[in-house]
Amino acid sequence: MAKQYDVLFRLLLLGDSGVGKTCLLCRFTDNEFHPSHISTIGVDFKMKTLLIDGIKVRIQIWDTAGQERYQTITKQYYRRAQGIFLVYDITSERSFQHIMKWASDVDEYAPDNIQKILVGNKSDEEEKRQVATEQGNKLAMAYGMDFFETSAFTNHNITESFTRLAEQVLVANKKDLDLLRMSVTDELNLAALEEEEGITDGTDATEKSCWC
């Protein structure tokens, strides 16, 4: 029985409404995203599995699109996420300015080792650009984040930015990861041992490890 994944991360998309958070999500999870799924079920998050450094990383992406104005709701997610996308729209100066607010919110309320990445979306709309790439770079530097300009429309940098954040989360939890690996190995030994003893038991406790 192959394991579906080794670890599970929760990533959260933050940013003003209309910056294209949901578009990014749709694009990224393309293969698992069928419009037919959303009619009745809620899509509070979407899933995708990435293979990073030999580890099957299942990422669960939260998108609270449409709920930005509920003051306390989005913040409830901060505590439960390991990584955060701060998304603005390169054609909207305002959405860029708001990144500062979102970022300081995260600094204030999110766990210390939460990983962040800055994303300037809609890079295909060059003619309407209001925020220079350099500005994005600068801000990202100031907050010590990586920075990507993306386009959900042309699929530019979508996988890259999601993978990058997932990698960062992995690194940030490296210690845990090593322990997980060891325990996985032990698990195998244990399984072998049990077989010797004639006990068959298919439990794999680590199958759904989740760091949260």
Partner: protein, 715 residues
């Protein structure tokens, strides 16, 4: 295989048909054909069923003209088409355009022999439009579309409709003069209402409510009844929710950025939601003189209100209260939370678990169907609120105020995922059909709201409105003032709680496996006794609600009654013990152990991490066991710790009142933990976490009594 599928699925996608300016989706619907029973043949011949297949055309995409024409076509298979169109057309056109097109078309076809039928369909359409979507015609100051409609109607001798439109126009004009549309400024209106009622000498509309609940002008949450608050919240929420224009919830309307707010009715519900969260936060933080226990009382109160809201199926205020209690400023008040009584914590955990975002759509759907999903919750509530829940449920049987945010997200996602137009620039009507499914759920819930019949509590209404709005920053600062941060690096209880849950699920797995024995051996290694651990399970499970809810403020992952919980609390306590104990037996055990440690903040011996730690308790002059390790949390009172220690030492037959708990500070020096102390806070953190149970000489009272809160040194 193919045959099998066909026989399983009565509806089959067949394909698409493209006509000029319209794309139809074709489905084949198979329905059993009922042959009129011939009494002679009936019995032998029922071995097969005959089916009839009918072809159903569904307009998937079309030009605007075709969409409008389809409204009046006789061959319209889809009964909901009219409603879907009326609910969503403003995303791709205007009211005025549709009216023009309808009547233009009408001129063309008026010579038709079918004109009577045609007129009939037009009548029905406009009737629905005026009755259920009157909002569409609100175009101050002139309401031109409505006037246009008025011009056309009499020509077609649709006089009754003309009359209706006239009435609507008059109504709009009156409202225009007042300049207050009811949905626009609900809070202003509410304030005005409250003021008016105050002026009328506290006469209130609706049902009269006895004023036993208010004592002072300056009321606070403790002055009002739980039922009163939840009723008033529900009343306000329901009022606002009923006024929501479903169209305004659509992703393309609501999620507009940098544009003036096109969804005032939606904003109004959110403003109310935010007002409730703010009310919760201010009631806790804006009273700098309050003591910890007073604040804990306020938290308990709000939890009760949340629970009542759940009973009333007011999921909006329920979410508002829960999210406010979980907001950083409130949530970080660890000492306050530690004083919140267990019953409340159990309710709180249950509610938060049930109404998290992940399953809140599910929850909403459950509500739509029926809501018998939470037996555990009902049990708790019936215990706590038996006196009012029964009668309430009868009287307001199925009013529901949903948390609208869920719908907004789903609609935003639909809007993002589905294109507005498809090839050939046809309007993607399939998208509108999908959106309509959600909108009709909202409508359905709005209808249910009319079933509420709640009294109006004027004082509570005034109290809810009269509040200082706090920014996140302000509330955070207030919170810091109340409880200064102790250890910035220590993880929040919340992460600890998640962690514990995680751990419990890991350990649950081990329960069924042979490794269980290994787990048990860990505690054996530290205690020296053997075989007793299996029995330990049962007394521990009787303690479950304490150990579980206290250890992680969490009953969520494992319901209290489940066998897992005992394994969990037990194993957690036992597992971690050898972390610092020198002997760490087998490599297999190490794996368990490592994995647990990898979850970061597991309780450790000699260190208080988050809200828990491991202590070792021995019994003075007892049965030869050295010590037993016990998981101590910030919720544990002395008596419970003694009880648990006795159980661990197989001394549960002893009366825990005969023992005192002392921490061994150094050789010959002991810290007496008072009877009713919270051991976690009373203990010395600079000494080893070693405790000893002293048995008091018979008949002698315990050396220290309840009230003292500080430990005393004794020689």
């Amino acid at each position: 295989m193919g045959k099998w599928e066909i026989s399983m699925n009565p509806v089959q996608e067949w394909g698409e048909e493209l006509e000029e300016g319209a794309l139809y989706g074709i489905t084949l619907r198979r329905e059993p054909l009922h042959i009129p029973a011939n009494p002679k043949e009936a019995q032998p011949c029922v071995a097969f069923v005959q089916y009839r297949t009918s072809k159903v055309r569904r307009l998937k995409a079309a030009t605007l003209t075709r969409l409008v024409n389809h409204l009046l076509e006789p061959c319209c298979h889809e009964p909901d088409y009219r409603l879907i169109f009326l609910s969503t057309y403003r995303t791709f056109t205007t009211t005025r355009t549709v009216i023009e097109m309808l009547f233009q078309r009408n001129k063309v076809t008026s010579d038709d022999g079918n004109s009577e039928c045609h007129r009939r369909r037009l009548f029905l359409l406009i009737q629905t439009w005026l009755d259920e979507y009157s909002e569409d015609f609100w175009e101050p100051p002139h309401h031109t579309s409505l006037r246009l409609l008025l011009d056309h109607l009499p020509c077609l001798s649709l006089c009754s409709l003309a009359q209706r439109s006239e009435t609507l126009l008059n109504k709009f004009q009156r409202e225009g003069q007042r300049k207050v549309r009811t949905f626009l400024f609900p809070s202003a209106e509410a304030v005005a209402g409250v003021q008016a009622e105050k002026n009328e000498g506290e006469q209130c509309s609706g049902q009269e409510v006895p004023y036993w609940e208010n004592t002072l002008d300056q009321g606070g949450i403790m002055d009002f009844s739980v039922a009163g608050i939840s009723e008033q919240l529900t009343r306000l929420d329901a009022e606002l929710f009923v006024k929501v224009v479903p169209f305004q919830c659509l992703g393309s309307v609501w999620s507009q950025r940098d544009k003036e707010n096109l969804s005032p009715t939606v904003s109004a519900t959110i403003a109310q939601f935010n007002a409730v969260t703010n009310r919760v936060i201010t009631s806790l933080l804006c009273c700098s003189t309050s003591s910890q226990s007073q604040r804990a009382g306020v938290i308990e109160r709000w939890i009760s209100v949340a629970q009542e809201c759940r009973q009333l199926k007011n999921f909006s205020s329920l979410r508002a209260i829960l999210s406010a209690l979980q907001s950083s400023a409130v949530y970080r008040l660890r000492k306050t939370w530690a004083t919140v009584c267990r019953d409340s914590m159990v309710i709180f955990d249950n509610l938060s678990e049930t109404f998290t975002d992940e399953n809140c759509v599910l929850t909403n759907r459950e509500i739509l169907v029926e809501d018998g999903s939470q037996p555990a919750l009902e049990n708790i509530s019936s215990k706590t609120f038996k006196h009012c829940s029964l009668s309430r449920q009868m009287s307001t049987s199925s009013g529901v105020v949903p948390y609208l945010g869920t719908f907004l997200t789903v609609l935003t996602m639909l809007d993002t995922a589905l294109p507005d137009t498809v090839e050939g620039d046809l309007i993607n009507f399939e998208k509108r059909r999908r959106e309509f499914e959600i909108l009709s759920q909202i409508r359905q819930l709005q209808v249910s709201c009319s079933q509420y019949n709640l009294p109006h509590h004027t004082r509570i209404a005034a109290w809810l409105l009269d509040q200082k709005l706090l920014t996140d920053q302000e509330s955070y600062e207030l919170s810091i003032n109340l409880e200064p941060p102790v250890d910035l690096s220590s993880p929040s209880p919340w992460s600890h709680r998640k962690l514990s849950k995680k751990l419990s699920s890991l350990l649950t797995v081990t329960e069924n496996s042979s490794r269980k024995t290994h787990v048990d051996q860990i505690s054996v290694s530290s205690s020296g006794s053997s075989g007793s651990d299996m029995e330990d399970l049962s007394p521990l499970s009787t303690l479950k609600s304490q150990s579980l809810s206290s250890s992680c403020q969490n009953v969520t992952g494992a319901t209290p009654s489940s066998p897992d919980s005992s394994v969990f609390s037990k194993s957690q306590a036992d597992l971690s013990a050898p972390a610092s104990a020198a002997a760490c037996p087998k490599p297999i055990l190490a794996s368990h152990h490592k994995r647990s440690v990898s979850m970061t903040s597991l309780p450790l011996y000699n260190r208080q991490v988050a809200d828990s730690c491991i202590v070792r308790v021995s019994v003075e002059a007892a049965n030869g066991n050295m010590y037993k390790s016990i998981l101590l949390t910030s919720q544990d009172k002395t008596a419970q710790v003694i009880q648990r220690a006795l159980e661990k030492h197989n001394l549960e037959h002893m009366n825990s009142n005969d023992f005192t708990l002392r921490q061994v500070i150094s050789r010959g020096r002991e810290l007496i933990i008072p009877d009713k102390a919270n051991v976690f806070y009373a203990m010395s953190t600079s000494a080893n976490y070693d405790f000893v149970l002293h048995q008091c000489p018979k008949g002698q009272k315990k050396p220290l009594c309840a009230t003292s809160s500080l430990g005393q040194y004794s020689k």
